[in-house]
């Protein structure tokens, strides 16, 4: 309840300690006294934020942070997916090797296939060997030689797919040597050339992604810094008033830092949430579209659009980083401005 003064407090002596108790300023009757309110009155409190919250510059800053956070999270998520997909391609292709047995005179192919299988299975880390039968070989050649092919009439090499246990690293050199000695016309293709190419391509894609992410982060940081400084400029009057009523630099910096940290967190969370929802929606769409040619193509290129735990942790780190940068920029800007006000020694004009 608002308390109307009933009587002025006693006049203190001039030598009374200043700042202890309120002194009366003027006889109450010199000014019109407010009539006592009837009913409820507004509760008095200094609850308002010292830094104005609903400014246009503040709202604009929040939107800028949200947009830049969205772009940064989108880039990070894409890089994570590309990295994961490239890793998947690489591990898929490196989990298989192929033994090829070219037809030679006086070589019994079935025997050669059995011998090659036996040799391959004799090595540690080989889980199974599957020989491509004639029908499968004909199907493989169908795009070039057409249908109705009698494979037995052609000197087509026999192919054996050797599957490697995960994390196992068989001695391919020894296997190659053993096949060469024991199975004439055989050769071992460990897909090294493909793996190397894929490695190079995947590495290049990840590097491009990281470069783009770095540029987006740099742009985000610069945008946040400039937008924060712009928003701060509109609050110079507040800083000056606080300064003149005796607020120290720490108090002013803390007020502004807290305010802009909240803005940064709100903006970054909005942008990050939008990016996360987009990835979730794409993941759901790709799951729902399994079987269609478009989805298969996209899946072949980008996997399942699943960010995984590391992707989500990355997004959270980006958001915290952006909010932290906003608060830090604010603190530095306010400190500089307040120090320019406080620097009596450099304030001469």
């Amino acid at each position: 309840m608002t308390k109307a003064p009933e009587k002025p407090t006693p006049v203190p002596k001039p030598d009374q300690q200043v700042g202890s108790q309120p002194r009366p300023i003027i006889e109450a009757e010199n000014f019109a006294q407010p009539p006592k309110r009837k009913g409820r009155t507004k509760r008095l409190h200094s609850g308002s934020e010292i830094v104005p919250t609903e400014t246009i510059a503040g709202q604009a800053l929040m939107f800028v942070i949200a947009i830049m956070s969205f772009l940064a999270c989108l880039t990070l998520g894409t890089v994570t997916i590309i990295n994961q997909t490239a890793h998947d391609w690489q591990s898929d292709i490196s989990r298989e090797v192929t033994i090829q047995i070219r037809p030679f005179d006086n070589v019994e192919m079935d025997k050669a296939v059995r011998e090659a299988s036996k040799i391959a299975l004799g090595f540690e880390g080989i889980s199974k060997v599957i020989a491509l039968n004639d029908d499968a070989a004909a199907k493989l050649l169908e795009p070039w030689l057409g249908t109705g092919l009698n494979i037995e009439e052609l000197p087509v090499p026999k192919l054996l797919t050797v599957t490697i246990e995960s994390d196992a690293k068989p001695d391919f050199e020894a296997m190659r040597e053993a096949l060469k000695v024991n199975v004439p016309g055989s050769s071992l293709d460990d897909h090294r050339a493909w793996v190397d190419r894929l490695n190079t391509m995947a590495w290049a894609m990840v590097m491009v992604g990281i470069s783009i992410f770095s540029l987006v982060m740099a742009a985000t940081i610069l945008t946040v810094i400039f937008a924060t400084r712009g928003a701060m400029d509109s609050n110079r009057n507040v800083v000056e008033v606080l300064h003149f009523v005796g607020a120290d630099a720490g108090f002013i910096s803390n007020e502004f830092q807290q305010h802009f940290l909240k803005l940064g967190l709100k903006g970054a969370a909005s942008g990050g949430a939008a990016a996360t929802l987009l990835f979730i929606a794409l993941g759901l769409w790709s799951s729902a579209s399994i079987g269609t040619p478009q989805a298969d193509q996209i899946k072949a290129l980008f996997g399942t659009f699943s960010l995984g735990l590391s992707g989500y942790i990355g997004i959270i780190i980006v958001l915290v980083l952006i909010a932290f940068l906003t608060a830090l920029t604010t603190r530095i800007t306010v400190h500089r401005y307040v120090n320019s006000l406080y620097s009596y020694n450099s304030g001469g004009k």
Partner: protein
Amino acid sequence: MIKFENVGLRYGLGPEVLSDLTFQIKPNSMQFLTGPSGAGKTSLLRLMLMSLRPTRGLVTVFGKDAASITPEQLPAIRRKIGVVFQDFRLLDHLTTYENVALPLRVRGSSESSYRSDVTDLLGWVGLGERMHVLPPVLSGGEKQRVAIARALIDQPDILLADEPTGNVDPPLARRLMRLFLELHRSGTAVILATHDLGLMDQFNARRLVLNQGRLQIYD
């Protein structure tokens, strides 16, 4: 409390706007600072407030050479000086009550310790009914009184007021003057910048008259 010795001030490379100022503001004193428009009253108040640095001379505030006061020491000194700006400098997003309570809030005082002081003071300056109002809807005179109340709420040792009666009608100006006199009687050194000769004639106080950058003192 404040001492000027041969103080001069120039802006940039221009001529000196204040020259050879030598005077002292004693505790519990009352003075008018007057002179024609553009004579340098506001600049002199800013020198006393340490928001300007003199180009020459020595300014001593509360016994300390102002040039040797560090940024860390400045807030504590500022808290002993109440200021009423010519343009009020109220924060438009805070209510009248919050504007007046601001100096106490930045000092970390708890609201329960100052709520009654603020309401009493606002009542005394005739704004008891305007406590919840934001400055943009206050009249010029009301803003003036809020600015004065904010300067007085922490009972400063020195009050610097720049044209504190410039936006109010003569009767209210006289009432505000009585407010300043009462403050002076209770121990505060008061420096009022005004060019209202009629108002000054009604009160017996020391006069610091600025003319063409030079100061004449009439005790």
